[in-house]
Symmetry: C2
Subunit: 575 residues, 2 copies
Amino acid sequence: MKKILRINMSNLTFLEETIKEEYRYLGGRALISKIMINEVDPACDPLRKYNKIVIAPGLLTGTIAPCSGRLSIGGKSPLTGGIKEANTGGTPSQKIAKLGYKAIVIEGIAQKDKLYIIKINPEGVEIIQADELKGMGTYQTAKNLRDKYGNNYSVICIGPAGEEKLLASSIAITDIEGDPARQAARGGLGAVLGSKRVKAIIVDNGEKDVIDYKDKQKFKKLIPDFVKDVVEMRKSMTEYGTACLVDVVNSFKGLPTRNFSLGEFEGAEKINGKELRKRIIERKGKISHPCHPGCIIRCSNVYNDEKGNYLTSGLEYETIALTGANCGIDDLDIIAKIDYFCDNFGIDTIDTGAAIGVLMESGFMEFGDKEGVLRLLDEIKKLTPLGRIIASGARITGKVFGVTRVPEVKGQAIPGYDPRVFKGTGVTFTTSPMGADHTAGICFPGRGGYREETKDGSKIKHYEGNKIQVALSSDLQVMTTVCDSLGFCYFVGTNLKNMNLFAKLINHRYGLNVIGEDMITLGKETLKTERAFNKAAGITEAQDRLPEFFREEKIKPDGYVFDVDKNEIEKIYNF
Amino acid sequence: MKKILRINMSNLTFLEETIKEEYRYLGGRALISKIMINEVDPACDPLRKYNKIVIAPGLLTGTIAPCSGRLSIGGKSPLTGGIKEANTGGTPSQKIAKLGYKAIVIEGIAQKDKLYIIKINPEGVEIIQADELKGMGTYQTAKNLRDKYGNNYSVICIGPAGEEKLLASSIAITDIEGDPARQAARGGLGAVLGSKRVKAIIVDNGEKDVIDYKDKQKFKKLIPDFVKDVVEMRKSMTEYGTACLVDVVNSFKGLPTRNFSLGEFEGAEKINGKELRKRIIERKGKISHPCHPGCIIRCSNVYNDEKGNYLTSGLEYETIALTGANCGIDDLDIIAKIDYFCDNFGIDTIDTGAAIGVLMESGFMEFGDKEGVLRLLDEIKKLTPLGRIIASGARITGKVFGVTRVPEVKGQAIPGYDPRVFKGTGVTFTTSPMGADHTAGICFPGRGGYREETKDGSKIKHYEGNKIQVALSSDLQVMTTVCDSLGFCYFVGTNLKNMNLFAKLINHRYGLNVIGEDMITLGKETLKTERAFNKAAGITEAQDRLPEFFREEKIKPDGYVFDVDKNEIEKIYNF
C-alpha cells in the first residue's frame, strides 16, 4: 500500500502516485484529513471543481485482523461546509487495499451532462462514459455494473440524489451479496461525487494481494483473544443487530421521539431488536450478517417483506430511531421501506428522518402518518420541490418551513441519542469536526473512555458533572478516530486495551515500534487537522453549539436539559 | 433623543430607558451595531428569543436637513447569520425621532399562535393582540391599522412571509401616501419580527417634537448649498428614478442578465428609466416622488397599470435588474407586478429575483417565462414547498435545486452590478459585514471615494488595479455607513465634502465639535463593530468570498472575470 490513485475528472485521466513519506503510516480518516488539508482549499465550494473525494481503506485493512475492512470516504461536505469522513462497511475496502492503494483521490469535474464510471482492477484503470446509468437507483446500478463487468466487482455508487447534488446524498457500497446496502451516508458526499459526474467506482482486485506482514505469526497470535473479547462484548448486537439499542436508549429515556420532543417512545417495542429479529427469522431473512468479510460482530441483517421477498438490508438502529420513533412511526415494515428507498435513491436515512420529523413539527403532516411518509418518498423520487427539500436534510427543511426546533449541528442531523440524556454524546455532537454524527464518539451514561481504566476502578456515574462528560466525549472521539484510521469498526471497542493491541498489530504489519499512546496521539492529531480544516473553511467555535432548544426545553419524561458548561466544552481540544 | 424604548414580547411589557453615555452621539446603523454587540449573543439562533430587532432613526433624523429621514432596522440576520442593518425610507423614522426615541428595541418572543401590534404615540405604548391580521398582506395591514387608529400613524409591518419566518422576508414601511411601499428588505429581518410575533409597529408623534438644535440658524445656513449640490448631482435620478441606472449599468456591460451569465440585456430599453418615466406619465402615476418627507432627490415613483390604477410604488433599479434582466424579463408591467407582490407578501425583490434566476438556471423553467414567473408568485402566496423555497432566497434555492452558480455572498443575493465589471463593488460584496448588499458601498468604474479629492485631481480609471478597487470599496463602505448612521440617504453623496458638512450639522445640532475625519472614524468603527459581531457569530474571512464562478467564467460580452487579488481584499479592514 504505497500508492495513491488519482482520477482527474476534468480531463478524464488517472495517475498512480507513490505516496509521500508523510502519508506512509496513515490510513482511512487520518490520511483523508492530511490529504484534504494539503490539497483542498477549505473555503472552496464543495460542489465545484476544487473539492476532492478521497476513498481510503484503513491502515490495517486487508489484513486478517477481524472487523478491519471498513472504508473511509472523505471530502469537503456540502452539508456542513467542513471536512467529512463517512465510514462504511461493504466489500470494496479490502480490495482497494489489496490492490496496493492507500487512497483513491477523485479530482476536478467532468463535462456537463455526461456521467462516468471508474473501473479499477489489477490490469489498470478505465474511466468509462456511462450515460445509460443516469437517474438509476443504486440497486439497479450495482446490478447492471456487476452483470456487465462481473460479480467480482465491488461497487461504490450514487443514486439519483447524488446526481442532483442534493445535500443529504449518500454513497452506496455493495455488501457481500452485491447489494448496495452499505452507506457512506453522512455529510452529503454523494452530492460531491455527483458534482464530479462519477456515478460509480467499481473495484476488483482479482488475485492481487499486496498485503504483507513484517511478522505474520505474531500478528496472527494476537487475534484469538481479540476475537473472544469482541464476540463476548457484542453478543447482543450479533443477536439483535444495532437495533438492540432501541430498548437501551429508550430505557435511558433518550430515544429521539417526535422531533426530539420526547425521550421515550410508546411504540418502542414494535420497532426494537427483538421484534426485528423475530420478523427476520419468520420471513427467512438474514440475521447476524457481516457488513464486510472478516466481520465477527455481524450486527447487520437482511429484512424481507411479509411474502419473504427482499425488502432491505442493513436495517440499523439510527434509521429505526430517526425514521421511526422520531417521526412517530411504530412499524418496522414502513421503516424498512424508507430504508430501502433511501439506500436506493441515495440519501442518508438519518438526515431524511430528521427532516421528516421537522416537516411534521411544522404542521405540514402529522407525526405517525405512515401513508404520508410513503407519499413523501414518492415526492423525493419524483424530485418535486418538496422532495428536494427533504433530500436536502433537516437544516434546510427547518429553514424552508420556518421551524427552529431542528436537531442538527453544523448542518448535519443529530442521530439517535437525545443529547439532554446522553450528555457526553451531546458534547461529541457539539464539538466533532463532522457535525452531529453517530460514528464520532457516542458516550453512554455510565460508560467511560480510556480514562476509566487508568483510574482506580471507580465507575463513572450517570451525569457525573460537566468535566467528566467532556472527558468522556474527548476519549471516545479520539479512539473512534483511531478506529476510523485503521479500518476497524468502532464496535470492536474504543478502549485503551484495544489501543495497545492496535499498536502491536501495526508493529507486526509494518515493522514499526509504536505503543497505545501513539494511537491516542494519532487520533488527536487527526482531530486537530480536521478542526484546522474547518477553521479555514470558516467553521469556528461559534458553530460548536447544539440548537438552543436542547438547553431550554426539558425533555419528557425525565426533565433534563443539556447543561454541560460551555466553557468546559470549549476546552475539549486542549490536548 | 435620549431614550431607548424597549419592548419585551416574552412578557408583553415595555420600558423607556435613558440611554447610556456610549450611545449618546450614535444613531441609525452605528447605534444598532453597538446595541447588538452589547446585548445579543452573536451565535444565537436569529429566529429565537435571544435575537433582537433594533429600529433606529439616524443621528440627524427629524432635523430640517434634507434626505435625513431614513430609518435603520437591525438585528441578527437569518439569511446571513451575521449582523444586519436594513435601510429604508418612509415616514416613521422622523416620527420616532420626534418622540425622543433613539431606538426601539424589540426583545424576547411572544406566545405561540398569537400576533401583536405595537402602538406608539406621545401618550405611551400599547402592545395589542391583533390575531385578525394573521396572514394579511402588508397593504391591507397598513390600511386596516390606519383606518382603525388614524391616518397619522406610520406603519412598520410584515406580510405573510415574515409570519412564516421565510428567510427573504422584508419589513414594509408606509410612505407619504400611507402605502407600505418602502422596504427594509434585506437580510430577512421580517422573519425576525415574525419570530417575535410582531405584525406591526405603528407610530404617531402627534404634536410632539423633541428635536432641538444647539444653533438652528447655523444649521439652517448650511442647507441651501447642500440642496443645490444634491439636486444638481441627482438630476437624472429625479427625472427617471433609480431606474436611470439600467442604461448606465448596461452600458458598462455589467447588468446582471439571465442569472449573471451576461452583462448586457437585449431588452434593456424596454425596462430602462426612460421607458419607466414614459409609462408613469402616460398612466398618470407619479414620478419624482420622495421616499420620505424632506427628500429632495425624489427618485421614487408610483406606477399605475394600463387602466391607470395603482400597481406598485417605489419601482427601483435593483428590482428591475434582478427580477427583470436577471430573469430575462423585459416587461415593466410584469416587473411592477412582481414588485407589488413582494412588497405585499413581504419579501425582498433582490433575493426573490436572484432566486428565480437560479431556478431558471436549474432548468425548472425558462429564462424570460413571464407567465411562469406569475405562477411562481402564486406558489409563494399559497406557501407551497416551491413558493417557500423561492421566498427563502437565492442561496437556499441553489442548494435545493443543485445549482452552484448562485449570486450571493454570506447568504444574501448580489444586487444589480456584476462584480466582474464593477470590481470595486465586488470588493464591497465580498467584504461587507452585510453580505452582498446594494446599500453597502457601490463603486462605479471611474468614480472614487474621498481619496479622489485629496489627490492631485487625477481621475481614477476603470480597472486601475487591485489596490484602487479595494481602496474605493473601503472609502464607499465607510462613508455609506456614515450616511446610514446619520439618517441620510447615501444618494446625497458619499464624499469627503459631505463628511465635513455632516460634522458641522452635528455640531450645530448637538453642540459638539467634530470634523469630517471624525465621521470617517465613526464609519470605520461601526464597520469594525459589525465585523466583530460577525466573527463571534462564526463568520470569518473564509466567508469573504464571491461565488467561484465570478473568478472563473468570463462575463459576456467583455470577457472580464473578478480578479481582485485576495490578499489585497483581506487588507480592507486594516484601518
